[in-house]
Amino acid sequence: MQEVGSSANSANREFVAFRVGAQEFCIDIMGVREIRGWTPATPLPHAPAYVRGVINLRGAVLPIVDLAMRFGIGLTEPTARSVIIVVQVYQQVVGLLVDAVSDILTTSEASMQPTPDVASDLAKTFVKGVYAVEGRMISIVTLESVLPISAKAAA
């Protein structure tokens, strides 16, 4: 529902920053329902490789998207530090598997920089802009693009 950067420019907004591989990303905190530890997922047949399967979220069946795989970085090896960020996009609730949550950023829309013009498909498809925070570069992920929509169509 909360597309990053859709509202007022000047207002300060909060983002959840997380690590996928060696890179840092963030998503608008308004889209985050909860953050929970990794539990083994039940694999789904005929699912894209980045869909790790489904887990039980208090009685609801929650699909898990491996963000590293989604971004083409490679399959995540879940560890004790691995985290599932539960996000809601429109009516769909999905868990994003990431390596770790790093911090909560408070920043303004104005300080967002456009995505550097690189050849990577990842950047073009999933990143809508970047923030520079204490010498780090944090990419803002557009939630809609990471959802397993193709799976829906494939059915």
Binding site: L44, P45, H46, G53, N56, G59, P148, K152, A154
Partner: protein
């Protein structure tokens, strides 16, 4: 009143109509069986009357008129002027059907062509004119006013009619003020109709020393020139009907007074003997407070009560039995979901406790057992909320039988049994279509014509029996007829002709009966518009299977056929077999499983590139390796170390599913995969296991057809490659 409130009241009205219709039909059927005691007749009368009253408030003219005709006939029965003979009851039942149609049409905002039911209406009307008594037609006008929701849109549109001169006398009684009505509003409303000259008569006001502060002493005389008809003028006073003396004179002509209306009302209700119209009116209105917008049922009931003491008793009975509340289904579903989670949580907790190795006698274990029992009870109680009796469904069927008997010229009687049997609402809803089809079949194909029946030494009237019962946690519905039974030679010949079986196939009687369920099979030589609409028993079977049910058939030539369906009581849980495939737990719906087998050496044969079949008692069924099919592993499993589950699809095809091992049989709570993900080929839904993990429920039909497609796809691939 806002549009929303209006819509809500309208919705309530139609909801109540459903109840009234069902009540009416039940009563009529009971009357048809000879129970013509006053309570039954009154119940039917009340139901029709309530519908009429409510319909009047919504200006559903066609409905009001028909209900009125019907009601009049019922009143004749009630007052003993008309004997409820078989013919009379037949007409009444047909009228009930028309009334139901009219209600449905009004609800959906459709128009029903009057000619379509004119015959029935005339028949019913004829019942009351036999005695040569005149019916007071104007009553229709007045009846609806009894229940008034105080809707602003009730006033008719001003027409281009000539200007009338009205002289209106309006003397409020103390009740008017007590009920919070305001004379100024009424006078203002009146002046909206046209040019009004209002004068107040304060002559009755006593001196200050004798004045009653709660009294009413003023009266008004209004000279109104308006194009509006007198009804419109009268409607202004609907709010305060009975709370004031109202006289309306139009163009010098005196209008019907309250008392006269009451007299007509009483007469129409078959109790003109009252002779005290004044009392009737007061009573009626003392119970009728339009401001509180009570449900139509109550108002009508109280009105009837004022006129007929018999009805009062009957009403008391009705009130006692109707201790229900309306709850939105969303809320119930939410509760069911929560309880489902509670059950899973409880199972998880138990498992953890066992893993933690508590001593068997410890109080923790005892507490857990109690908790388990409680949660199970809660689950059952919650499921019971969604459960509904099959009664309304069966009532619909009796209507279908009546209509069919009419069109086919056959004499059929439907007997129902176990109407109070309860099953999940969704099951009831989704049963309607297959059941209708089967009932049509029973009447159209099963029951013979009266001549044939007599020739066969049977009574000319055929019987169709519809029964429901609970049996070992499922609902069993049976439809049986005492007709000719399945014509097996004809079925067989037809199946051969359609290429469904080979001419030399060896088939047992039950095999032949089951041919009826094959897609593309229809016994009717000519397609009748009753049961041969291109949907056959295969569709029935498929919809029953989709509900997790099973259907079977038995037939004895000359004595009739019985279709028996067994269905789960709820769609929220499913009986399944938990199996292991490549380290994953999958659930196979129990309804699809025929048997489980341990493949032996030599029973599995390769066919084609990578297809295999399994020999089961000299027939070969395709073998589906669930592990590879689901993409859980790349290499096919070794059949001799696996278990084969023989399954039957909705189409009747048999396949063997190869799984690693069988865990157990259990009841699982069905969880949707679609909500957050989407549909997955070969998977029907998901469930949550005792350890909190998600397990997938196989969609056997899709799995089988998916495997077929893959093989065909493979062939094409090889073709282009070569």
């Amino acid at each position: 009143m806002t549009v929303d409130t209006m819509a809500a009241i309208r919705q309530t009205f139609f909801q109540e109509c459903e109840e009234q219709l069902s009540e009416m039909e039940l009563g009529l059927l009971s009357m048809d069986e000879g129970n013509t005691d006053s309570e039954t007749v009154n119940a039917v009368f009340r139901a029709v009357h309530s519908i009429k009253g409510g319909a009047g408030a919504f200006k559903l003219t066609a409905l009001v008129q028909f209900a009125h005709t019907f009601e009049t006939a019922l009143d004749y029965v009630r007052s003993g002027k008309l004997h409820p003979s078989a013919d009379v009851m037949k007409a009444m039942l047909r009228a009930a059907d028309v009334l139901a149609d009219l209600v449905a049409a009004s609800r959906d905002g459709k128009e029903i062509d009057e000619s379509s039911y004119a015959g029935v209406a005339a028949d019913v009307k004829a019942l009351t004119t036999v005695e040569g008594e005149e019916e007071v037609e104007e009553v229709i006008e007045f009846q609806p006013t009894v229940i008034d929701f105080g809707l602003p849109d009730m006033a008719p549109e001003p027409t281009a009619a000539p200007v009338h001169e009205y002289r209106v006398g309006f003397t409020p009684r103390p009740e008017l003020y007590l009920n919070g009505n305001e004379t100024v509003l009424i006078v203002r409303e009146l002046s909206r109709l046209g040019n009004a000259e209002v004068s107040c008569d304060a002559s009755a006001v006593p001196g200050l020393d004798t004045i009653d502060p709660n009294g009413a002493y003023l009266s008004w005389n209004i000279k109104l020139s308006s194009e509006a008809p007198i009804e419109a003028v009268r409607e202004v006073f609907e709010f305060v009907d009975g709370e004031a003396e109202i006289s309306i004179e139009a163009d010098g002509q005196s209008e019907v007074s309250d008392a006269a209306i009451a007299a007509l009302l009483a007469q129409a209700l078959g109790n003109a003997s009252a002779g005290e119209p004044e009392t009737a009116v007061t009573e009626t209105n003392s119970e009728d407070h339009p401001q509180s917008a009570p449900a139509p049922t109550e108002v009508i009931a109280s009105e009837t009560a004022a006129v007929s003491p018999q009805a009062t008793e009957a009403k008391a009975v009705a009130v006692q039995t109707q201790t229900t509340i309306r709850v939105e289904f969303d809320r119930v579903d939410r509760l069911i979901n929560l309880v489902g989670e509670l059950v899973i949580n409880q199972a998880m907790l138990s498992q953890r406790v066992i893993e933690a190795n508590f001593a068997g006698s410890s109080s923790v274990i005892i507490g857990l057992e109690e908790l388990e029992q409680l949660t199970r009870e809660i689950q059952e109680s919650v499921m019971a909320i969604r459960a509904q009796p099959v009664k309304p469904l069966f009532q619909r069927m009796s209507r279908i039988v009546r209509e069919l008997a009419d069109t086919t010229g056959k004499q059929v009687r439907l007997k129902t049994d176990g109407e109070a049997t309860e099953v999940d609402k969704t099951v009831v809803e989704r049963l309607a279509e297959p059941l209708t089809h089967m009932i049509r079949n029973a009447v159209d194909h099963g029951i013979e014509s009266p001549e044939e029946r007599i020739a066969a030494g049977k009574s000319p009237e055929g019987n169709v029996r519809l029964s429901a019962a609970h049996r070992s946690g499922r609902i069993v519905i049976e439809i049986s007829d005492d007709g000719a039974g399945i014509n097996r030679p004809k079925v067989r010949a037809s199946a051969i002709k359609k290429g469904l079986i080979s001419p030399d196939a060896q088939l047992s009687d039950s095999d032949i009966d089951n041919l009826l369920f094959l897609p593309g099979f229809s016994t009717a030589a000519t397609i009748s518009n009753i049961s041969g609409r291109g949907v056959g028993m295969d569709v029935v079977k498929r919809s029953i299977l989709a509900l997790g049910g099973r259907i079977s058939i038995s037939s004895r030539p000359g004595q009739g056929s019985t279709f028996s369906m067994s269905l789960p009581l709820t769609l929220a849980v499913l009986d399944g077999m938990a199996v292991s495939v490549a380290g994953q737990t999958l659930v196979v719906p129990l309804t699809a499983i025929v048997e489980t087998l341990k493949p032996k050496k030599g029973e599995i044969h390769g066919i084609g590139a990578d297809s295999r079949v399994m020999a089961i008692r000299n027939t070969f069924v395709p073998l589906i390796d669930v592990g590879t099919q689901m993409g859980f592993r790349d290499t096919p499993a070794d059949p001799e170390r696996s278990v084969a589950i023989l399954v039957e699809t909705g189409g009747g095809a048999r396949n063997a599913l190869l799984v690693d091992s069988i865990q157990d049989q259990r009841q699982v709570v069905i969880k949707s995969l679609e909500a957050n993900y989407g549909t997955v080929a070969g998977i029907a839904a998901a469930t949550i296991l005792g350890d909190g993990r998600v397990a997938l429920i196989l969609d056997v039909d899709a799995l089988v057809s998916g495997s077929l497609e893959e093989q065909i796809g493979g062939d094409v691939h090889y073709g282009t490659g070569g």
